[in-house]
Symmetry: C2
Subunit: 315 residues, 2 copies
Protein backbone atom coordinates (compact mmCIF):
# COMPACT_ATOMS: atom_id res chain seq x y z
CA UNK A 1 0.00 0.00 0.00
CA UNK A 2 1.39 3.42 -0.95
CA UNK A 3 1.35 6.20 1.59
CA UNK A 4 0.60 9.83 0.85
CA UNK A 5 0.21 13.13 2.60
CA UNK A 6 -1.02 16.54 1.62
CA UNK A 7 0.72 19.85 2.28
CA UNK A 8 -1.37 23.03 2.19
CA UNK A 9 0.03 26.57 2.13
CA UNK A 10 -2.80 28.95 2.93
CA UNK A 11 -2.08 32.46 1.66
CA UNK A 12 -4.15 35.63 1.51
CA UNK A 13 -4.82 35.25 -2.24
CA UNK A 14 -4.28 31.62 -3.15
CA UNK A 15 -4.09 28.26 -1.42
CA UNK A 16 -1.28 26.04 -2.69
CA UNK A 17 -1.82 22.33 -2.24
CA UNK A 18 0.63 19.49 -2.81
CA UNK A 19 0.15 15.73 -2.80
CA UNK A 20 3.38 14.08 -1.59
CA UNK A 21 4.74 10.63 -1.04
CA UNK A 22 6.50 10.04 2.29
CA UNK A 23 9.96 10.61 0.76
CA UNK A 24 9.17 14.21 -0.18
CA UNK A 25 8.38 13.69 -3.86
CA UNK A 26 5.57 15.87 -5.18
CA UNK A 27 2.99 13.68 -6.91
CA UNK A 28 0.91 16.68 -7.91
CA UNK A 29 0.53 20.31 -6.94
CA UNK A 30 -2.13 22.87 -7.72
CA UNK A 31 -3.76 26.07 -6.43
CA UNK A 32 -7.21 27.29 -5.53
CA UNK A 33 -8.31 30.84 -4.64
CA UNK A 34 -8.63 31.99 -1.07
CA UNK A 35 -12.23 33.12 -0.66
CA UNK A 36 -12.11 35.62 2.17
CA UNK A 37 -15.74 36.74 2.18
CA UNK A 38 -17.92 36.02 5.26
CA UNK A 39 -14.91 36.23 7.58
CA UNK A 40 -13.11 33.53 5.63
CA UNK A 41 -15.75 30.92 6.43
CA UNK A 42 -15.40 29.26 2.98
CA UNK A 43 -11.66 28.74 3.22
CA UNK A 44 -11.47 25.45 5.11
CA UNK A 45 -14.47 23.84 3.33
CA UNK A 46 -12.90 24.82 -0.03
CA UNK A 47 -9.60 23.21 1.00
CA UNK A 48 -11.38 20.08 2.21
CA UNK A 49 -13.29 19.78 -1.07
CA UNK A 50 -10.11 20.23 -3.14
CA UNK A 51 -8.37 17.46 -1.22
CA UNK A 52 -11.31 15.05 -1.23
CA UNK A 53 -11.80 15.62 -4.97
CA UNK A 54 -8.12 14.86 -5.58
CA UNK A 55 -8.29 11.69 -3.50
CA UNK A 56 -11.30 10.55 -5.53
CA UNK A 57 -9.73 11.53 -8.85
CA UNK A 58 -6.48 9.71 -8.06
CA UNK A 59 -8.38 6.70 -6.67
CA UNK A 60 -6.41 6.89 -3.46
CA UNK A 61 -7.88 4.95 -0.53
CA UNK A 62 -8.59 7.15 2.54
CA UNK A 63 -6.35 4.93 4.68
CA UNK A 64 -3.41 5.57 2.36
CA UNK A 65 -3.43 9.25 3.42
CA UNK A 66 -1.34 9.76 6.56
CA UNK A 67 -2.57 13.26 7.09
CA UNK A 68 -2.94 16.83 5.90
CA UNK A 69 -0.55 19.53 7.08
CA UNK A 70 -1.36 23.21 6.68
CA UNK A 71 0.60 26.43 7.06
CA UNK A 72 -1.45 29.47 8.09
CA UNK A 73 -0.54 33.20 8.04
CA UNK A 74 -0.86 33.85 11.77
CA UNK A 75 0.28 32.50 15.14
CA UNK A 76 -0.73 28.86 15.58
CA UNK A 77 -0.20 27.05 18.87
CA UNK A 78 0.77 23.42 19.49
CA UNK A 79 -2.91 22.38 19.47
CA UNK A 80 -3.46 23.83 16.01
CA UNK A 81 -5.43 26.81 17.25
CA UNK A 82 -4.90 29.95 15.20
CA UNK A 83 -5.37 33.21 17.09
CA UNK A 84 -6.46 35.99 14.75
CA UNK A 85 -5.28 35.45 11.19
CA UNK A 86 -6.28 39.01 10.23
CA UNK A 87 -5.43 38.51 6.53
CA UNK A 88 -8.10 35.83 6.32
CA UNK A 89 -10.74 37.50 8.47
CA UNK A 90 -10.44 34.74 11.07
CA UNK A 91 -10.78 35.01 14.83
CA UNK A 92 -9.86 31.99 16.92
CA UNK A 93 -10.18 28.67 15.06
CA UNK A 94 -8.96 25.18 15.94
CA UNK A 95 -7.80 24.17 12.48
CA UNK A 96 -6.76 20.63 13.41
CA UNK A 97 -10.31 20.03 14.61
CA UNK A 98 -12.37 21.93 12.02
CA UNK A 99 -10.46 20.78 8.94
CA UNK A 100 -9.97 17.32 10.47
CA UNK A 101 -13.74 16.94 10.88
CA UNK A 102 -14.39 18.05 7.30
CA UNK A 103 -11.82 15.59 5.93
CA UNK A 104 -12.01 12.73 8.42
CA UNK A 105 -8.21 12.67 8.05
CA UNK A 106 -5.70 13.80 10.72
CA UNK A 107 -4.77 17.49 10.29
CA UNK A 108 -1.83 19.40 11.74
CA UNK A 109 -1.52 23.18 11.42
CA UNK A 110 1.43 25.48 11.91
CA UNK A 111 2.45 29.06 11.25
CA UNK A 112 3.36 29.53 7.59
CA UNK A 113 6.87 30.88 8.19
CA UNK A 114 7.70 28.09 10.64
CA UNK A 115 6.27 25.50 8.27
CA UNK A 116 8.42 26.86 5.42
CA UNK A 117 11.49 26.29 7.63
CA UNK A 118 10.44 22.68 8.12
CA UNK A 119 10.11 22.33 4.34
CA UNK A 120 13.59 23.73 3.70
CA UNK A 121 14.96 21.32 6.30
CA UNK A 122 13.20 18.35 4.73
CA UNK A 123 13.92 18.88 1.04
CA UNK A 124 15.57 22.28 0.56
CA UNK A 125 18.53 24.41 1.63
CA UNK A 126 18.63 22.90 5.12
CA UNK A 127 18.52 19.27 4.00
CA UNK A 128 20.48 17.02 6.35
CA UNK A 129 20.30 19.46 9.31
CA UNK A 130 18.20 19.00 12.40
CA UNK A 131 19.07 22.40 13.93
CA UNK A 132 18.36 25.17 11.49
CA UNK A 133 17.22 28.76 11.17
CA UNK A 134 15.33 30.00 8.11
CA UNK A 135 15.29 33.76 7.55
CA UNK A 136 12.75 34.67 4.88
CA UNK A 137 13.63 38.09 3.49
CA UNK A 138 10.56 39.31 1.66
CA UNK A 139 8.33 42.35 2.16
CA UNK A 140 8.98 41.66 5.83
CA UNK A 141 11.38 39.32 7.57
CA UNK A 142 9.82 36.03 8.60
CA UNK A 143 11.54 33.12 10.13
CA UNK A 144 11.35 29.62 11.36
CA UNK A 145 13.47 27.84 13.92
CA UNK A 146 14.07 24.10 13.78
CA UNK A 147 15.42 22.44 16.93
CA UNK A 148 16.14 18.74 16.86
CA UNK A 149 14.17 18.34 13.64
CA UNK A 150 11.04 20.02 14.99
CA UNK A 151 9.51 23.48 14.56
CA UNK A 152 9.74 25.87 17.49
CA UNK A 153 6.15 27.01 17.94
CA UNK A 154 6.53 28.70 21.32
CA UNK A 155 4.02 29.26 24.09
CA UNK A 156 1.59 31.31 22.00
CA UNK A 157 2.64 30.49 18.44
CA UNK A 158 5.11 33.39 18.14
CA UNK A 159 8.26 31.25 17.96
CA UNK A 160 10.55 32.31 15.12
CA UNK A 161 9.31 35.91 14.90
CA UNK A 162 12.86 36.93 14.13
CA UNK A 163 11.87 39.94 12.03
CA UNK A 164 10.93 41.68 15.25
CA UNK A 165 14.18 41.28 17.13
CA UNK A 166 15.19 44.74 18.33
CA UNK A 167 18.39 45.58 16.50
CA UNK A 168 18.71 49.39 16.43
CA UNK A 169 18.15 51.94 19.18
CA UNK A 170 16.71 55.31 18.24
CA UNK A 171 15.12 54.34 14.91
CA UNK A 172 12.58 57.08 14.09
CA UNK A 173 10.49 55.00 11.63
CA UNK A 174 7.91 52.64 13.04
CA UNK A 175 7.81 48.92 12.17
CA UNK A 176 4.57 47.22 11.13
CA UNK A 177 4.45 45.65 14.60
CA UNK A 178 4.43 49.05 16.33
CA UNK A 179 7.98 48.91 17.66
CA UNK A 180 11.01 50.83 16.42
CA UNK A 181 14.30 49.30 15.28
CA UNK A 182 13.15 45.75 14.38
CA UNK A 183 15.40 43.59 12.17
CA UNK A 184 12.65 43.64 9.53
CA UNK A 185 13.17 47.39 9.08
CA UNK A 186 16.67 46.77 7.66
CA UNK A 187 16.85 43.23 6.34
CA UNK A 188 13.60 42.91 4.34
CA UNK A 189 13.19 43.99 0.71
CA UNK A 190 11.61 47.22 1.93
CA UNK A 191 14.38 47.53 4.54
CA UNK A 192 17.07 47.38 1.85
CA UNK A 193 15.25 50.16 -0.03
CA UNK A 194 15.09 52.21 3.20
CA UNK A 195 18.84 51.78 3.69
CA UNK A 196 19.47 52.72 0.04
CA UNK A 197 17.31 55.84 0.29
CA UNK A 198 19.18 56.95 3.41
CA UNK A 199 22.55 56.31 1.75
CA UNK A 200 21.49 58.39 -1.27
CA UNK A 201 20.29 61.24 0.95
CA UNK A 202 23.48 61.27 3.02
CA UNK A 203 25.90 61.25 0.12
CA UNK A 204 26.62 63.07 -3.13
CA UNK A 205 28.34 59.99 -4.50
CA UNK A 206 27.54 58.90 -8.04
CA UNK A 207 25.57 55.66 -8.17
CA UNK A 208 23.26 53.79 -10.52
CA UNK A 209 20.83 53.76 -7.60
CA UNK A 210 20.23 57.49 -8.09
CA UNK A 211 18.70 56.97 -11.53
CA UNK A 212 16.79 53.95 -10.25
CA UNK A 213 15.31 56.08 -7.50
CA UNK A 214 14.42 58.89 -9.91
CA UNK A 215 12.61 56.32 -12.10
CA UNK A 216 10.79 54.85 -9.12
CA UNK A 217 12.60 51.56 -9.64
CA UNK A 218 14.68 51.42 -6.46
CA UNK A 219 14.32 47.89 -5.07
CA UNK A 220 16.34 45.24 -3.25
CA UNK A 221 16.99 43.72 -6.67
CA UNK A 222 18.36 46.95 -8.17
CA UNK A 223 20.60 47.36 -5.09
CA UNK A 224 22.11 43.87 -5.34
CA UNK A 225 22.38 44.07 -9.13
CA UNK A 226 24.37 47.29 -8.62
CA UNK A 227 26.53 45.53 -6.02
CA UNK A 228 27.43 42.91 -8.61
CA UNK A 229 28.46 45.70 -11.00
CA UNK A 230 30.71 47.16 -8.31
CA UNK A 231 28.63 50.30 -7.56
CA UNK A 232 30.28 51.55 -4.39
CA UNK A 233 27.22 53.19 -2.82
CA UNK A 234 25.27 49.97 -3.38
CA UNK A 235 28.14 48.04 -1.78
CA UNK A 236 27.90 50.30 1.27
CA UNK A 237 24.19 49.55 1.51
CA UNK A 238 24.94 45.81 1.24
CA UNK A 239 27.49 46.14 4.06
CA UNK A 240 24.89 47.82 6.27
CA UNK A 241 22.32 45.16 5.39
CA UNK A 242 24.88 42.44 6.14
CA UNK A 243 25.80 44.02 9.46
CA UNK A 244 22.18 44.24 10.67
CA UNK A 245 21.20 40.76 9.50
CA UNK A 246 24.52 39.17 10.53
CA UNK A 247 24.19 40.67 14.01
CA UNK A 248 20.57 39.53 14.32
CA UNK A 249 21.42 35.99 13.22
CA UNK A 250 24.36 35.92 15.65
CA UNK A 251 21.94 36.71 18.49
CA UNK A 252 19.64 33.92 17.35
CA UNK A 253 22.58 31.50 17.15
CA UNK A 254 23.46 32.14 20.82
CA UNK A 255 19.98 30.89 21.63
CA UNK A 256 19.61 27.82 19.42
CA UNK A 257 23.13 27.13 17.98
CA UNK A 258 22.04 26.09 14.46
CA UNK A 259 24.02 23.89 12.10
CA UNK A 260 22.77 25.88 9.10
CA UNK A 261 21.25 29.29 8.50
CA UNK A 262 19.14 29.33 5.37
CA UNK A 263 18.31 32.60 3.62
CA UNK A 264 15.09 32.66 1.61
CA UNK A 265 12.49 35.09 0.26
CA UNK A 266 12.73 37.59 -2.58
CA UNK A 267 15.93 39.29 -1.35
CA UNK A 268 17.73 35.91 -1.40
CA UNK A 269 17.44 35.86 -5.20
CA UNK A 270 20.58 38.03 -5.08
CA UNK A 271 22.34 34.67 -4.60
CA UNK A 272 25.59 33.64 -2.94
CA UNK A 273 26.81 37.23 -2.62
CA UNK A 274 24.11 37.71 0.03
CA UNK A 275 25.55 34.90 2.16
CA UNK A 276 28.97 36.53 1.95
CA UNK A 277 27.77 39.91 3.22
CA UNK A 278 25.79 38.34 6.03
CA UNK A 279 28.22 35.64 7.18
CA UNK A 280 31.09 38.14 7.46
CA UNK A 281 29.20 40.10 10.14
CA UNK A 282 27.69 36.97 11.67
CA UNK A 283 31.20 35.73 12.41
CA UNK A 284 32.13 39.10 13.93
CA UNK A 285 29.31 39.09 16.44
CA UNK A 286 28.62 35.46 17.24
CA UNK A 287 29.81 33.36 20.21
CA UNK A 288 32.81 31.25 19.18
CA UNK A 289 30.94 27.98 19.80
CA UNK A 290 28.41 28.93 17.10
CA UNK A 291 30.84 30.19 14.48
CA UNK A 292 30.73 27.13 12.23
CA UNK A 293 27.09 27.53 11.18
CA UNK A 294 26.80 27.17 7.41
CA UNK A 295 25.09 29.86 5.36
CA UNK A 296 22.94 28.44 2.60
CA UNK A 297 20.29 29.68 0.21
CA UNK A 298 16.73 28.38 0.31
CA UNK A 299 15.97 26.19 -2.70
CA UNK A 300 12.24 25.52 -2.58
CA UNK A 301 11.03 29.06 -3.31
CA UNK A 302 7.26 29.37 -3.04
CA UNK A 303 6.91 25.61 -2.56
CA UNK A 304 8.62 25.59 0.87
CA UNK A 305 5.21 25.96 2.52
CA UNK A 306 3.62 22.88 0.93
CA UNK A 307 6.74 20.77 1.60
CA UNK A 308 6.86 21.82 5.25
CA UNK A 309 3.13 21.35 5.71
CA UNK A 310 3.41 17.80 4.34
CA UNK A 311 6.36 17.10 6.65
CA UNK A 312 4.28 18.28 9.64
CA UNK A 313 2.14 15.16 9.47
CA UNK A 314 5.09 12.83 8.95
CA UNK A 315 6.78 13.77 12.25
Amino acid sequence: MSKYCFGVDLGGTTVKIGLFDTQGTVVEKWEISTRKENNGSHILPDIAKAILDKIAQKQIAREEVIGVGIGVPGPVDEQGIVHMAVNLGWGVININEVLGNLLQIPVKAGNDANVAALGEMWCGGGKGCSDMVLATLGTGVGGGIIVNGKMVTGATGSGGEIGHIHIVDGEPDVCGCGNHGCLEQYASATGVVRLANRALENSEQESVLRAAKANGRLSAKTVFDAVKEGDSLACEVAEQFGAYLGKGLAMIACVVNPEAIVLGGGVSKAGEILCQYVSKYYKTYVFHGCKEAQFRLATLGNDAGIYGAAKLVLE
Copy 2:
Protein backbone atom coordinates in the same frame (compact mmCIF):
# COMPACT_ATOMS: atom_id res chain seq x y z
CA MET B 1 9.03 -1.83 42.66
CA SER B 2 10.19 1.72 43.34
CA LYS B 3 11.96 3.67 40.65
CA TYR B 4 14.88 6.00 41.20
CA CYS B 5 17.27 8.16 39.26
CA PHE B 6 20.44 10.04 40.08
CA GLY B 7 21.24 13.64 39.20
CA VAL B 8 24.87 14.72 39.15
CA ASP B 9 26.08 18.32 38.97
CA LEU B 10 29.76 18.26 38.09
CA GLY B 11 31.50 21.48 39.16
CA GLY B 12 35.13 22.58 39.16
CA THR B 13 35.46 22.09 42.94
CA THR B 14 32.73 19.71 44.05
CA VAL B 15 30.40 17.16 42.51
CA LYS B 16 26.83 17.37 43.83
CA ILE B 17 24.85 14.16 43.63
CA GLY B 18 21.16 13.60 44.30
CA LEU B 19 19.11 10.43 44.53
CA PHE B 20 15.56 11.16 43.34
CA ASP B 21 12.29 9.37 42.95
CA THR B 22 10.50 9.86 39.63
CA GLN B 23 8.25 12.61 41.05
CA GLY B 24 11.18 14.91 41.78
CA THR B 25 11.53 14.23 45.50
CA VAL B 26 15.12 14.18 46.75
CA VAL B 27 15.69 10.95 48.68
CA GLU B 28 19.23 11.94 49.55
CA LYS B 29 21.85 14.40 48.38
CA TRP B 30 25.56 14.70 49.06
CA GLU B 31 28.82 16.01 47.63
CA ILE B 32 32.24 14.66 46.74
CA SER B 33 35.33 16.62 45.68
CA THR B 34 36.25 17.08 42.05
CA ARG B 35 39.73 15.59 41.67
CA LYS B 36 41.17 17.42 38.70
CA GLU B 37 44.69 15.91 38.73
CA ASN B 38 45.84 13.79 35.74
CA ASN B 39 43.62 15.75 33.34
CA GLY B 40 40.56 14.97 35.40
CA SER B 41 40.85 11.23 34.81
CA HIS B 42 39.59 10.39 38.33
CA ILE B 43 36.39 12.38 38.03
CA LEU B 44 34.08 9.89 36.31
CA PRO B 45 35.37 6.83 38.27
CA ASP B 46 34.87 8.81 41.52
CA ILE B 47 31.30 9.63 40.51
CA ALA B 48 30.61 6.01 39.53
CA LYS B 49 31.95 4.76 42.87
CA ALA B 50 29.86 7.28 44.82
CA ILE B 51 26.70 6.18 43.03
CA LEU B 52 27.39 2.43 43.25
CA ASP B 53 28.21 2.78 46.97
CA LYS B 54 24.92 4.61 47.52
CA ILE B 55 22.96 1.96 45.63
CA ALA B 56 24.57 -0.74 47.80
CA GLN B 57 24.08 1.23 51.03
CA LYS B 58 20.39 1.88 50.26
CA GLN B 59 19.89 -1.72 49.09
CA ILE B 60 18.44 -0.49 45.83
CA ALA B 61 18.27 -3.08 43.05
CA ARG B 62 20.16 -2.04 39.91
CA GLU B 63 16.98 -2.43 37.82
CA GLU B 64 15.19 0.09 40.04
CA VAL B 65 17.54 2.81 38.75
CA ILE B 66 16.21 4.34 35.56
CA GLY B 67 19.41 6.21 34.84
CA VAL B 68 22.02 8.76 35.85
CA GLY B 69 21.90 12.29 34.45
CA ILE B 70 24.89 14.58 34.67
CA GLY B 71 25.47 18.29 34.05
CA VAL B 72 28.96 19.24 32.88
CA PRO B 73 30.66 22.67 32.70
CA GLY B 74 31.26 22.74 28.96
CA PRO B 75 29.47 22.24 25.64
CA VAL B 76 27.88 18.78 25.44
CA ASP B 77 26.25 17.55 22.23
CA GLU B 78 23.16 15.36 21.81
CA GLN B 79 25.31 12.21 21.98
CA GLY B 80 26.74 13.16 25.37
CA ILE B 81 30.14 14.10 24.00
CA VAL B 82 31.79 16.98 25.86
CA HIS B 83 34.20 19.05 23.81
CA MET B 84 36.86 20.63 25.99
CA ALA B 85 35.70 21.15 29.55
CA VAL B 86 38.77 23.29 30.31
CA ASN B 87 37.86 23.68 34.01
CA LEU B 88 38.17 19.92 34.44
CA GLY B 89 41.25 19.36 32.27
CA TRP B 90 39.17 17.31 29.83
CA GLY B 91 39.57 17.08 26.07
CA VAL B 92 36.86 15.23 24.14
CA ILE B 93 35.00 12.61 26.18
CA ASN B 94 31.80 10.68 25.49
CA ILE B 95 30.33 10.85 28.97
CA ASN B 96 27.24 8.77 28.21
CA GLU B 97 29.53 5.95 27.13
CA VAL B 98 32.38 6.21 29.66
CA LEU B 99 30.24 6.75 32.76
CA GLY B 100 27.61 4.33 31.43
CA ASN B 101 30.24 1.59 31.12
CA LEU B 102 31.51 2.24 34.64
CA LEU B 103 28.00 2.10 36.09
CA GLN B 104 26.25 -0.35 33.77
CA ILE B 105 23.32 2.06 34.06
CA PRO B 106 22.08 4.39 31.26
CA VAL B 107 23.74 7.82 31.48
CA LYS B 108 22.72 11.08 29.84
CA ALA B 109 24.91 14.18 29.93
CA GLY B 110 24.12 17.82 29.23
CA ASN B 111 25.66 21.24 29.65
CA ASP B 112 25.33 22.41 33.27
CA ALA B 113 23.50 25.66 32.51
CA ASN B 114 21.03 23.92 30.21
CA VAL B 115 20.50 21.16 32.75
CA ALA B 116 19.78 23.74 35.47
CA ALA B 117 17.03 25.15 33.24
CA LEU B 118 15.49 21.70 32.98
CA GLY B 119 15.61 21.45 36.80
CA GLU B 120 13.86 24.79 37.26
CA MET B 121 11.21 23.68 34.78
CA TRP B 122 10.67 20.36 36.56
CA CYS B 123 10.55 21.46 40.18
CA GLY B 124 11.49 25.14 40.42
CA GLY B 125 10.56 28.60 39.17
CA GLY B 126 9.43 27.30 35.79
CA LYS B 127 7.21 24.53 37.13
CA GLY B 128 4.22 23.93 34.88
CA CYS B 129 5.84 25.48 31.79
CA SER B 130 7.11 23.60 28.77
CA ASP B 131 8.57 26.66 27.02
CA MET B 132 10.96 28.48 29.32
CA VAL B 133 14.14 30.52 29.43
CA LEU B 134 16.46 30.43 32.45
CA ALA B 135 18.92 33.31 32.78
CA THR B 136 21.51 32.55 35.45
CA LEU B 137 23.05 35.80 36.61
CA GLY B 138 26.24 34.88 38.45
CA THR B 139 29.89 35.75 37.82
CA GLY B 140 28.87 35.41 34.17
CA VAL B 141 25.48 35.05 32.53
CA GLY B 142 24.54 31.47 31.73
CA GLY B 143 21.32 30.27 30.31
CA GLY B 144 19.20 27.38 29.32
CA ILE B 145 16.36 27.23 26.82
CA ILE B 146 13.51 24.78 27.18
CA VAL B 147 11.34 24.18 24.10
CA ASN B 148 8.41 21.81 24.37
CA GLY B 149 9.74 20.43 27.65
CA LYS B 150 13.19 19.64 26.29
CA MET B 151 16.59 21.32 26.55
CA VAL B 152 17.88 23.11 23.48
CA THR B 153 21.37 21.66 23.02
CA GLY B 154 22.08 22.97 19.54
CA ALA B 155 24.29 21.61 16.79
CA THR B 156 27.52 21.76 18.80
CA GLY B 157 26.28 22.04 22.39
CA SER B 158 26.25 25.85 22.47
CA GLY B 159 22.47 26.26 22.69
CA GLY B 160 21.47 28.70 25.43
CA GLU B 161 24.73 30.66 25.46
CA ILE B 162 22.67 33.78 26.07
CA GLY B 163 25.41 35.56 28.01
CA HIS B 164 27.18 36.11 24.71
CA ILE B 165 24.38 37.76 22.81
CA HIS B 166 25.81 41.00 21.37
CA ILE B 167 23.94 43.80 23.07
CA VAL B 168 26.14 46.92 22.92
CA ASP B 169 28.15 48.34 20.02
CA GLY B 170 31.44 50.05 20.79
CA GLU B 171 32.10 48.49 24.22
CA PRO B 172 35.82 49.01 24.94
CA ASP B 173 36.15 46.22 27.56
CA VAL B 174 36.58 42.68 26.34
CA CYS B 175 34.29 39.83 27.43
CA GLY B 176 35.70 36.51 28.65
CA CYS B 177 34.71 35.01 25.28
CA GLY B 178 36.87 37.49 23.37
CA ASN B 179 34.02 39.59 21.95
CA HIS B 180 32.97 43.08 23.01
CA GLY B 181 29.49 44.08 24.15
CA CYS B 182 28.11 40.70 25.29
CA LEU B 183 25.04 40.62 27.58
CA GLU B 184 27.24 39.06 30.28
CA GLN B 185 29.25 42.30 30.49
CA TYR B 186 26.21 44.14 31.87
CA ALA B 187 23.83 41.63 33.41
CA SER B 188 26.17 39.43 35.49
CA ALA B 189 27.24 40.21 39.05
CA THR B 190 30.50 41.61 37.68
CA GLY B 191 28.53 43.44 34.99
CA VAL B 192 26.42 45.22 37.61
CA VAL B 193 29.64 46.29 39.36
CA ARG B 194 31.01 47.56 36.03
CA LEU B 195 27.83 49.61 35.48
CA ALA B 196 28.04 50.95 39.06
CA ASN B 197 31.70 51.94 38.66
CA ARG B 198 30.91 53.80 35.45
CA ALA B 199 27.96 55.56 37.07
CA LEU B 200 30.15 56.66 39.99
CA GLU B 201 32.85 57.94 37.62
CA ASN B 202 30.39 59.87 35.48
CA SER B 203 28.59 61.58 38.33
CA GLU B 204 29.28 63.65 41.46
CA GLN B 205 25.99 62.48 42.96
CA GLU B 206 26.01 61.35 46.58
CA SER B 207 25.45 57.62 46.94
CA VAL B 208 26.06 54.85 49.45
CA LEU B 209 27.82 53.09 46.60
CA ARG B 210 30.70 55.60 46.87
CA ALA B 211 31.61 54.41 50.36
CA ALA B 212 31.12 50.79 49.32
CA LYS B 213 33.55 51.32 46.46
CA ALA B 214 36.10 53.03 48.72
CA ASN B 215 35.88 50.05 51.11
CA GLY B 216 36.27 47.56 48.26
CA ARG B 217 32.76 46.26 48.95
CA LEU B 218 31.02 47.28 45.74
CA SER B 219 29.01 44.26 44.56
CA ALA B 220 25.73 43.42 42.86
CA LYS B 221 24.32 42.89 46.35
CA THR B 222 25.38 46.35 47.62
CA VAL B 223 23.85 47.89 44.49
CA PHE B 224 20.46 46.20 44.89
CA ASP B 225 20.47 46.76 48.67
CA ALA B 226 20.99 50.46 47.91
CA VAL B 227 18.14 50.35 45.39
CA LYS B 228 15.84 49.07 48.10
CA GLU B 229 16.89 52.02 50.29
CA GLY B 230 16.05 54.43 47.47
CA ASP B 231 19.62 55.44 46.59
CA SER B 232 19.10 57.28 43.31
CA LEU B 233 22.46 56.46 41.72
CA ALA B 234 21.90 52.78 42.53
CA CYS B 235 18.44 53.06 40.97
CA GLU B 236 20.00 54.44 37.79
CA VAL B 237 22.34 51.46 37.68
CA ALA B 238 19.39 49.11 38.15
CA GLU B 239 17.58 50.82 35.26
CA GLN B 240 20.61 50.31 33.01
CA PHE B 241 20.88 46.69 34.11
CA GLY B 242 17.16 46.18 33.47
CA ALA B 243 17.39 47.78 30.03
CA TYR B 244 20.27 45.56 28.90
CA LEU B 245 18.83 42.35 30.28
CA GLY B 246 15.25 43.18 29.28
CA LYS B 247 16.39 43.92 25.74
CA GLY B 248 18.42 40.70 25.57
CA LEU B 249 15.52 38.62 26.86
CA ALA B 250 13.17 40.30 24.37
CA MET B 251 15.47 39.18 21.54
CA ILE B 252 15.46 35.64 22.90
CA ALA B 253 11.67 35.69 23.18
CA CYS B 254 11.31 36.53 19.46
CA VAL B 255 13.17 33.27 18.79
CA VAL B 256 11.52 30.82 21.20
CA ASN B 257 8.42 32.63 22.60
CA PRO B 258 8.67 31.35 26.20
CA GLU B 259 5.78 31.09 28.64
CA ALA B 260 8.09 32.01 31.54
CA ILE B 261 11.46 33.68 31.96
CA VAL B 262 13.17 32.53 35.14
CA LEU B 263 15.96 34.60 36.71
CA GLY B 264 18.50 32.71 38.80
CA GLY B 265 22.07 32.97 40.04
CA GLY B 266 23.56 35.23 42.72
CA VAL B 267 22.16 38.49 41.33
CA SER B 268 18.62 37.08 41.54
CA LYS B 269 18.88 37.08 45.33
CA ALA B 270 17.86 40.73 45.03
CA GLY B 271 14.36 39.26 44.70
CA GLU B 272 11.16 40.47 43.04
CA ILE B 273 12.53 43.97 42.47
CA LEU B 274 14.86 42.45 39.86
CA CYS B 275 11.90 41.10 37.88
CA GLN B 276 10.33 44.56 37.92
CA TYR B 277 13.40 46.30 36.48
CA VAL B 278 13.84 43.64 33.79
CA SER B 279 10.23 43.06 32.76
CA LYS B 280 9.63 46.80 32.27
CA TYR B 281 12.26 46.94 29.52
CA TYR B 282 11.38 43.49 28.23
CA LYS B 283 7.86 44.74 27.47
CA THR B 284 9.28 47.82 25.72
CA TYR B 285 11.40 45.85 23.28
CA VAL B 286 9.57 42.58 22.72
CA PHE B 287 7.25 41.55 19.86
CA HIS B 288 3.63 41.92 20.97
CA GLY B 289 2.94 38.19 20.58
CA CYS B 290 5.55 37.45 23.26
CA LYS B 291 4.54 40.16 25.76
CA GLU B 292 2.73 37.88 28.16
CA ALA B 293 5.80 35.90 29.27
CA GLN B 294 5.86 35.68 33.07
CA PHE B 295 8.95 36.77 34.98
CA ARG B 296 9.75 34.47 37.88
CA LEU B 297 12.63 33.85 40.24
CA ALA B 298 14.52 30.57 40.30
CA THR B 299 13.75 28.60 43.46
CA LEU B 300 16.17 25.67 43.45
CA GLY B 301 19.39 27.64 44.01
CA ASN B 302 22.48 25.44 43.80
CA ASP B 303 20.30 22.32 43.54
CA ALA B 304 18.92 23.21 40.09
CA GLY B 305 21.73 21.17 38.51
CA ILE B 306 20.98 17.90 40.30
CA TYR B 307 17.24 18.26 39.68
CA GLY B 308 17.75 18.92 35.98
CA ALA B 309 20.27 16.11 35.63
CA ALA B 310 17.81 13.66 37.21
CA LYS B 311 15.06 14.90 34.86
CA LEU B 312 17.34 14.30 31.86
CA VAL B 313 16.97 10.54 32.25
CA LEU B 314 13.22 10.70 32.84
CA GLU B 315 12.49 12.28 29.43
